[in-house]
Amino acid sequence: MPRIVRDADVVWEGNLARGAGAITAASSGAFASLPYSLPTRIAAPEGKTSPEELLAAAHGGCFTMSLAGELTAAGTPPGRLDVRCRITMDEVEGQGHLIVHSALDVRARVDGVGTDALAEAVDAAHKGCSFSSLLRAAGVGIDIETTLDGGD
């Protein structure tokens, strides 16, 4: 398969404390000029996104596709997957601010799958998701909670 590239553009004006920026999904155009700032990154978001929120969307999206792929490969494609991802940034002594944790809360409705088979697919998805791999390599903690809904 050929390499796939995706671009994003940001404009930032001013210093960190009082400046502000805007974030655009340049490859797809799916979103444009989303405003962000330091206060809304580290305190209440006030309707504004942040790097950590974008990472939560990226990790949630990557893991969900990975799990759909594993379940499909096992002959049991999902009816529906609901995944919530929460990314935590914290100040670490001597290292400044770091992304320290990603929590994935997975609810799966899959015909013909028991809790053991689902746990196996979740484990494989965690190993296969390209973004999970990067976070692991950087020492970011990842926790996954899985719930199997009744089949439909």
């Binding site: 398969m1 390499r3 796939i4 590239v5 995706r6 671009d7 994003a8 553009d9 940001v10 404009v11 930032w12 004006e13 001013g14 210093n15 960190l16 400046g19 974030i23 655009t24 490859s27 797809s28 799916a30 979103f31 989303l34 809304t40 990154r41 580290i42 978001p45 006030e46 996104t49 942040s50 790097p51 950590e52 929120e53 990472l55 939560a56 969307a57 990226a58 990790h59 949630g60 999206g61 969900t64 596709m65 799990l67 759909a68 792929g69 999902p78 919530r84 991802c85 929460r86 990314i87 935590t88 940034m89 992304i99 320290v100 390209s130 973004f131 990067l134 390599a137 950087a138 970011v140």
Partner: protein
């Protein structure tokens, strides 16, 4: 103090024929955004992807870190334009990140700007979470102030 941010994603059906939605994010700033395997691995056709979202997070984080470094050096920026390209190789993973930054920074010379740009590449929290990417490049341009 720790900061939490969250997003909710749903998916229905198989990987190739199914589809997903980034239903929303905690801030409410965007969503719902559709995602599919085809638009991730081929042409985007207006749909975002995990790699594009990583690029957006990285460009946003990098710009803040660079602004902070420049201000600390006594030369706060007027304007920074940052583009990040993330390269995904199916079956292999995320293999490359490319940061390009154009800065309008009164009172700084090229070497001073490059030094701060390199520092932001090393130190921004998103860069620190992506140290597993085998190749990360940086291209720096200082615009006339």
């Amino acid at each position: 103090m720790a900061t939490d941010r969250n997003a909710k994603v749903t998916w229905t059906g198989s990987l190739m024929d199914g589809s997903g939605t980034i239903e929303g994010v905690g801030s409410g700033a965007f969503g719902p955004l559709d995602v599919t395997w085809t638009s991730r691995a081929e042409e985007p056709a207006g749909r975002t992807s995990p790699e594009e979202l990583i690029a957006a997070a990285w460009a946003a984080c990098y710009s803040m870190a660079l602004s902070h470094g420049l201000a600390g050096a006594g030369t706060p920026p007027e304007r920074l334009e940052t583009s990040v390209t993330v390269t995904f190789q199916p079956g292999e993973g995320i293999v490359k990140g490319a940061i390009e930054v154009v800065g309008t920074v009164p009172g700084i010379d090229h070497d001073g700007f490059v030094e701060q740009a390199e520092g932001a590449k090393r130190n921004c929290p998103v860069s620190m979470a992506l140290t597993g990417i085998p190749e990360v490049t940086l291209a720096v341009t200082l615009a006339p102030a």
